[in-house]
């Protein structure tokens, strides 16, 4: 029951090989069935609401998401995956791009697939740069506790 984890080979490759690219809003983790041992389960199994379909067929707004990326309730994510029987599968963590709590799909209107993805990746890069700057400050503060 081993899962094949494919290394990241670039965004163009990811766009081409992902049959479904969607923006998902994470609702709640799927409760595990009592007494059932799942082997090879993904790190995260969440109920999601699909808020925008960027590539692929529009199946249903309510679905599940399986991934090895850590997911948080209430957050929005861009996901590069494939859809199978009510479940979006995007195992490798690089297939999930966090978009924060507040996200409006209006910014994507009238743009091509490539432009939409570039815009979303730029948004994540900006957020990440801000976050990393704040974390540098936090790290320096924490290290103060261990300086004698």
């Amino acid at each position: 029951m081993a899962r094949v984890i494919i290394p990241f080979e670039g965004w163009d490759w990811l766009k081409q090989t992902s049959s479904n690219i969607v923006i998902a809003h994470c609702i709640k983790p799927t409760p595990s069935a009592p007494g059932v041992l799942v082997i090879g389960a993904p790190k995260s199994d969440f109920g999601i609401e699909v808020v925008s379909v960027i590539k692929g067929k529009n199946f249903t707004s309510a679905a599940r998401l399986w991934t090895d990326h850590e997911l948080l309730e209430g957050q929005n994510y861009l996901l590069f995956g494939f859809y199978d029987s009510g479940i979006y599968k995007a195992y490798e963590p690089y297939r999930i791009v966090p978009l924060g709590l507040q996200f409006s799909t209006n910014m994507l209107a009238g743009k091509t697939l490539d432009e939409q993805i570039q815009m979303l990746l730029q948004r994540r890069l900006n957020d990440l740069n801000r976050q990393m700057k704040a974390e540098q400050g936090e790290k320096a503060r924490l290290e103060q506790a261990f300086i004698k």
């Binding site: 570039q118 890069l125 990440l128 990393m132």
Partner: protein, 174 residues
């Protein structure tokens, strides 16, 4: 009656102004923070608040009460009164559902919630946290243990973020 309504309106406006203009203190050191915080507690966030603090030009726009109010459960008190069960905490730090946090706070019974405005007052402890690691330790040892845990987690997280950043930047290289 009209006068009373006017006085009430002015009072509410004054209170709203007071709520936003919360004086915040810069971080000095952990010893002082430990000494001056009336309540040092471990909380579990029950629900991610729907509001976010937006930074505009380096200024934090506050959402009221000097920060965002989050629903939490008190898991453990390192210092101060142990009020177990549900409570609320107000901070500029964005708390996330299911995460545990160490909070250097002050609880004011008249307000009914904990206040920890400055982001440095909140230390993330991740989604899995066992308070057993604190048993038999002094307050200073407990805090050192928790800060070390956060530092280890943060180092791991920053390494992963460096990889993610490099991956994202590759999208903009021609």
């Amino acid at each position: 009656m009209k006068l009373r309504a006017g006085v009430l309106k002015v009072s509410l406006l004054f209170m709203a102004g007071m709520a936003v203009a919360v004086p915040t203190q810069p971080f000095r050191d952990w010893s002082e923070l430990t000494r001056t915080s009336k309540d040092i507690v471990i909380v579990h966030c029950v629900k991610t608040p729907e509001t976010e603090i937006v930074e505009a030009g380096g200024v934090v726009r506050e959402e009221g009460f000097g920060g965002i109010k989050s629903d939490v459960e008190i898991s453990f008190a390192l210092k101060g009164q142990m009020d177990s069960g549900k409570s609320e905490i107000v901070s500029q730090y964005p708390l996330r559902q299911s995460e545990y946090y160490l909070a250097f706070a002050n609880q004011y019974e008249s307000h009914g919630f904990y206040q920890a405005y400055e982001p440095y007052r909140i230390i993330s402890l991740g989604q899995n946290f066992d308070t057993n690691v604190l048993s038999g330790k002094t307050l200073d040892e407990q805090i050192q243990t928790l800060l070390q845990k956060r530092l280890n987690d943060l180092n791991r997280q920053m390494k992963a973020e460096q990889e993610e950043k490099a991956r994202l930047e590759s999208a903009f290289k021609k």
